[in-house]
C-alpha cells in the first residue's frame, strides 16, 4: 500500500514536471477558460442580481470545459513511445498509476480554476473574495470529482481512434449530478446566501466517494482487460 502510494506520487510528479516544461494542456486550458469568460461577460445583458443567480452555473461550465483539455491529456501523455506499456508492465499496481494521474490533473485544473475565478469576478463584477475559503473547499471537492471521472474515461478512450471526441461524450453526462450540486453551492456562496446547502454538499461528496471507489477498483480491468 505504502509503495503504491509512493508510486502514485512519482507518476504525479512526472506528469506535473513534463506539463510545466511543455505547458501543452495548461496553456490551452487557461486560454480557453479566459476566452469563454470574456465571451460570457458580453453574452449576457442581465441586471446585477439576475447575473448572481446564474453565476455559479456559468463558472462551473467554464471549469468543466477547461477541465476536459486537462484530463484528456492524462493518459494520452503515455501514448508516444509506448510508455503506457512500460508502466503497466512495472510492479506498480494499476490503481497507483491511475491515482498519480488523477493527482496531477487535479493540481493542473485547480491552477486553471484559481486563475479563472478572479478574472470571472473582475469581468462580471462578482464579489468572490468574501466567500473565497468556502468556495475553495467546494472547488477542491468538485474538481476531484471532475478529474477522477475524467481520468478514468481518459484511460477508457486512450486506445480509441476518436478519443478527443469520445471523452467529452462519455464524461459530461456522468458529471451532471456533481455539477448540479457544485453550481447550486457556488451560486449561493457568491450571492452570500446563507441557506441550507447540506443536500447539495452531500451530493458532491457522495459523487466523489462513489466514483473514487469505482474507478480505483475498475482501473486494472480498464487498462489490461
Amino acid at each position: 500500500m505504502k509503495q503504491g502510494l509512493l508510486s502514485a506520487l512519482f507518476i504525479a510528479r512526472k506528469d506535473l514536471r513534463t506539463e510545466f516544461r511543455t505547458k501543452e494542456a495548461l496553456n490551452a486550458s487557461v486560454s480557453f477558460a479566459l476566452v469563454v469568460l470574456v465571451l460570457f461577460s458580453f453574452a449576457f445583458d442581465l441586471g446585477r442580481d439576475e447575473f448572481y443567480d446564474i453565476s455559479g452555473g456559468l463558472l462551473w461550465l467554464v471549469y468543466v470545459f477547461a477541465g476536459a483539455l486537462i484530463v484528456n491529456r492524462s493518459f494520452i501523455r503515455e501514448v508516444p513511445n509506448d510508455c503506457l506499456d512500460v508502466l503497466i508492465a512495472s510492479p506498480m499496481p494499476a490503481w497507483s498509476l491511475f491515482l498519480g494521474k488523477v493527482i496531477a490533473s487535479f493540481v493542473l485544473l485547480m491552477i486553471v480554476e484559481l486563475v479563472s475565478l478572479p478574472v470571472y469576478g473582475l469581468l462580471n463584477n462578482i464579489h468572490w473574495v468574501d466567500s473565497f475559503w468556502p468556495h475553495l473547499g467546494l472547488m477542491i471537492l468538485a474538481t476531484w470529482g471532475i478529474t477522477i471521472t475524467g481520468v478514468a474515461f481518459s484511460a477508457v478512450t486512450v486506445n480509441v481512434r476518436l478519443r478527443e471526441l469520445m471523452l467529452p461524450v462519455l464524461h459530461y453526462p456522468m458529471l451532471i449530478p456533481l455539477l448540479i450540486g457544485a453550481m447550486q453551492i457556488s451560486t449561493a456562496l457568491l450571492k452570500g446566501d446563507g441557506g441550507d446547502l447540506s443536500a447539495d454538499l452531500r451530493l458532491v461528496v457522495v459523487f466523489d466517494a462513489m466514483f473514487s471507489a469505482l474507478s480505483l477498483y475498475l482501473i486494472e480491468f480498464i487498462l489490461v482487460g
Binding site: Q3, L6, S7, F10, I11, K14, R17, T18, R21, T22, P80, N81, D82, C83, D85, V86, L87, I88, A89, S90, P91, M92, P93, V224, G225
Partner: protein, 234 residues
Amino acid sequence: MSAIAADGVWKYFGDYPALRGATLEAPPGACVALLGRNGAGKTTLLRILANLSRPSKGEVTVFGESARDEKVRAKIGYLGHGIGVYDDLSAYENLILFGQLMNVPDTKAAAEAALERVGLTRVRDGFAREFSRGMRQRLAVARAFLHNPEILLLDEPFTSLDDRAIAVLHELLRDALSKGATIVMSTHQIREAMELATQVALLERGKIVHSGPRTDEMLGDPGWLYRKYEEKPK
C-alpha cells in the same frame, strides 16, 4: 520449474484467433529466440507474457506463480516496439523515474551505472527528444535492464539499432545470461538472435510449431528452420 511459461494460450481479437493454444517454456538461464513471420503472433505472445494483455484462454506463469502478481512483475524487464521513455524528461530523469517504479534500492547509483553501460553518461541531462534514434534506443535498453531483471522479454530488440547499439545490447544480453537471467526475444534478425539463443521457438499462425534447443544447423543457416516448416505439407 520454468522461469516463464505459457500454457495453451489463446488470444482472440474479435473472432480472429491471434494465438491458438501457444505453449512455450523457458527454463531458468535460457535465451529463447521466438521466430515467426509477420502476423504469426510473436508480439501478442510477448505482450501476454509481459502482462500487458490477458489471454483469452490458457495461463502464463513466472517461476510457477501467476504473471499478474505485482512481485512477479518486478522480476521482468520488457522492451517492446516503442522505446518506453519520456521525450520531455532527461535521460537521467527517465531512469530515476523507472528505477523508483521498479523498486530499485539505490536509484541514483543504478541510473548512473545504466547510463555508463550504454554510453550515455555524457548526455545524461539531455532530453530524450533531442537524442538521435540510436541514442534513444540505447536509453530504452538501459531502462529495460535498469533493475537487473531475472526475465527479459524483448520484442524485436535489434530492429533499427545502429552497430554501436547492437554491440551494447549484445554485451548486456550476454552479461544478463551469465548472471542467470532468462531471455525471450522475438526477432527477424535471425543471425544476431542465433548467436545468443540456447532455445528456438517458431510461431506460425498463432501456434508454436517448433520448440527446442538451438542446433548447429540453425546457427550455420539462419533460414533453415523456416524452410523446414514451409516445406512440410499442410
